[in-house]
Symmetry: C2
Subunit: 209 residues, 2 copies
DNA sequence: CAATTTTTTGACCGATTGGACAAACGTTAG
DNA sequence: CTAACGTTTGTCCAATCGGTCAAAAAATTG
């Protein structure tokens, strides 16, 4: 019996990483169907048959990419801590998500593309891993509300709102930049967004005294 | 010299509408490159050459769709009224946008797809028509802030936040439904979202007394 | 009715696509 | 050196794609 994922030599490891990096570029910019193996191969600096030596099918590349994505993508929410101060916790969750939109826009767009197409390849993960995590954190947030630390509101829609507003700066980047114009559309837009979102959400969740 | 857009007979009008309706289905679900003329033709109940008799190129269908989209898409923001009560105005803007996400999810996804791919076909509209409208409404909102009607905050990022949170329920629908589960993921989710978003944004913009 | 115009279709075309394959090349261990 | 193994590539293939075209069918006009 052989190991299910051989990947023996060091050169295989490296080339696979190279391909995944190139594929992230191509897939996030053109979607799965809009991307060709040739494009990925060229971006990775190798021939198409050579690429297919490391990943036998186009889908295999995408699948590997999506599996890694989910882990890093949910990391910020995982860190939301039960015992911390609610306001501080929410603030740093927003900040972490915004940093991910700034530093990993390709991953954000890859994810957005997948969901937009109806999540054909990761639906099980959404209904399993993702739902479980959100359920757990929603309970934490509800606890804060019952303790009077923050105003009462639907914790699920709160999480949706944080996802939507932060990922917006990666997924809709060209629109954000077009609207802000050349002056305000520069690097400062993430700082402005962070300030705005913290104010909005923290103020919006201030407990009625 | 002939008219630039003949479209003479009534049957041509009807068939073109039929095609556009089918294309909206297909494009919004698969993106531009992910959609084929055959798919659209089949969804419209006609043969491919017949479809190409009404639209000579695949791009022409998409372009027509995008042109119509922008108008209806910006209508809610256009209605944001200078002289109205700020809180009421913002509330009904949120509600209108959320209704569009509920009633026209295909249009929302078509738009999201286009922006995600870098807006190759509508960039001029973003930098022109869209930017002008947002600039105008941002001035209105800033006026409200200076008048002390709502708290001071960046009006552009406020508009982005409303766009992001409302469109999220169309663009990321499958994720929302997966997370909420079969119980809460039903038709009530838009009412819940409306309640939550109004509370969040209106509370978040309450002027410091 | 017949003549004309509009609509529809089957057959076809060149380009692109995902992928297969065997041969060539490179590397390493004996 | 040489045999074995890992890597790379040129060539090829079947399927699919967007789009053409001529001719049939249907509708319109006189």
């Amino acid at each position: 019996m052989e190991a299910p994922v051989p990947r023996r030599t060091r050169i295989q490891q490296e080339k696979r990483e190279l391909i995944l990096e190139a594929a992230l570029d191509v897939f996030s910019a053109n979607g799965f169907r809009g991307s060709t193996i040739d494009q990925i191969a060229e971006a990775a600096g190798m021939s198409k048959p050579n690429l297919l030596y490391y990943f036998r099918r186009k889908e295999d590349i995408h699948e590997t990419l999506m599996q890694r994505l989910l882990d890093t993508w949910l990391a910020p929410l995982r860190e939301l801590d039960d015992v911390g101060d609610p306001i501080t916790e929410l603030k740093s969750y927003i900040r972490r998500k915004l940093e991910m939109a700034r530093d990993y826009p390709r991953q954000s767009r890859l994810f957005a593309n997948e969901i937009l197409q109806g999540a054909p390849r990761i639906m099980p993960m959404l209904e399993g891993e993702l739902k479980n995590l959100v359920d757990e954190k929603a309970t934490v947030i509800t606890g804060w509300m019952h303790a009077g630390k923050i105003a009462k509101a639907d914790p699920y829609h709160l999480i949706f709102a944080i996802w939507a507003t932060t990922q917006h700066y990666a997924d809709f980047d060209v629109q954000v930049r077009a609207v802000l114009g050349p002056d305000r559309g520069g690097d400062g837009r993430f700082e402005d967004a962070a300030r705005f979102l913290e104010q909005l959400i923290i103020n919006g969740l201030k407990p009625a005294t």
